[in-house]
Symmetry: C2
Subunit: 253 residues, 2 copies
């Protein structure tokens, strides 16, 4: 969770809006949602009004959209809302009905309810369910994992990611209490549903031995020193073989 | 209405996010909403999470926010939602309780229901109510009108704007059918709740004789040729004494 919606996330999620046919086309054929929090779904509001694409998400996340009438701006006769069952590979179809050649599979990762659905005064439980998910996208040859929010590395998740060609992973905070220590917020990373990058139970440590070829941190809070090119923390992630995502990043597998 | 949310609108609405005290402050003390459509309210989602400010709007527009749980990301214990009655001057209070010295008054203008609340298959009626409003902001000496969406110039609105020091006004389309003619959409400006800039019943004509000192068009659709610095239409609005709003525009009265 960031103090303001992570616009980079939204832009990555929505790809580059550039007409490739006609006056107002865009190359976006599908949007995969990995949760119902603002940073995952608010970008949909920049894709209105009459662009055909498919929104792929779990039933839990679709319910979040259904419960917010503002998302009706995505005209249901133009924008298809497709439910995905966890762990079931789902072929991504183009708006004209042709196969895209891509398959997406969503899988549960430890996370919490979206911030705006938290009950005031209670600390939301971390759960592994269809409310916070990772996505694996494959063209049958190459495979990419996308896990922008994750509260803990489970043995199941480690097994899943082992030997992957590329993994984008939650890089929200460097240390769990950095926002508290900086005086910019009262919450730990765990409270927000994120594991930290550093530390013995952090992301760098958790990926050791998983043999993931490209490891890329994203969803990075503005308190995280890895955002600074010249910080010791950036040097540490680089030395551990990690990249830090940036605006306009493209990946070829 | 634009094909995608008018980001310039959102940015103007939310001013410049620049810390002026502490680590995460912003100079935004209040947000005035002039309607419930996406381009008017989606910017609120970039102002989360723990910034104190006041959202000023009519009860009708507040109901739109209430009906969308995603806006609960604006923590009600931090962000005050203040109801404004039409035509009643409302002092704008700073988050710390001090007076800002500014007063805002909202007034009804002809408009329609937000796009995402339209009933499928029906053409929404234009009405002059608390769903689409203009705002007048005053410091007791200078006064600025802000009318980003308006379907028609009524005699009441003309009387209100007469002799104003500055008016920002709906500049969505140049001609009512330009989107249809360009093949980029099936709707006229009137269908979308906007009067056009040109023509005998257009904005330029409607302001003739009103003696408004600074007249500034904003909320401009990307089909409107006044966006091009070198277009004949831009020359025409300039010759008529109008300015075209741009990113980062500042106004001193």
């Amino acid at each position: 969770m960031n103090a303001s919606p992570d616009l980079r996330q939204q832009i990555e999620q929505t790809a580059v809006l550039r007409p490739n046919q006609g006056l107002r086309s865009s190359p976006i054929a599908a949007v995969i949602l990995t949760g119902g929090d603002v940073d995952a779904i608010a970008g949909l509001l920049t894709l209105r009004e009459r662009q055909a694409f498919t929104v792929l998400a779990t039933s839990r996340v679709h319910r979040v959209l259904d419960d917010n009438p503002i998302f009706e701006v995505l005209d249901r006769s133009i924008v298809t809302r497709q439910m995905i069952t966890l762990d079931a590979p789902c072929p991504v179809t183009l708006p004209d009905g042709r196969a895209s050649g891509l398959t997406v599979t969503l899988f549960a990762v430890p996370g919490k309810v979206p911030l705006y659905l938290e009950q005031p005064g209670t600390i939301p439980a971390l759960e592994e369910s269809d409310q916070t998910v990772g996505a694996v996208v494959s063209d049958g040859q190459s495979t990419m994992y996308y896990v922008p929010s994750c509260a803990a590395m489970t043995s199941g998740l480690a097994d899943r990611l082992r030997n992957a060609a590329a993994v984008f992973f939650d890089g929200t905070l460097w240390t769990d209490d950095e926002m508290i220590r900086a005086g910019i917020g009262p919450k730990t990373g765990q409270r927000m549903g994120h594991m930290s990058v550093s530390g013995s139970d952090g992301t760098l440590a958790a990926f050791t031995g998983l043999n993931v070829q490209r490891r890329i941190l994203l969803h990075i809070n503005n308190s995280n020193p890895i955002l600074l090119d010249d910080s010791p923390e950036r040097a540490e992630v680089a030395a551990a073989g990690w990249e830090v995502a940036y605006d306009g990043m493209e990946l070829t597998l």
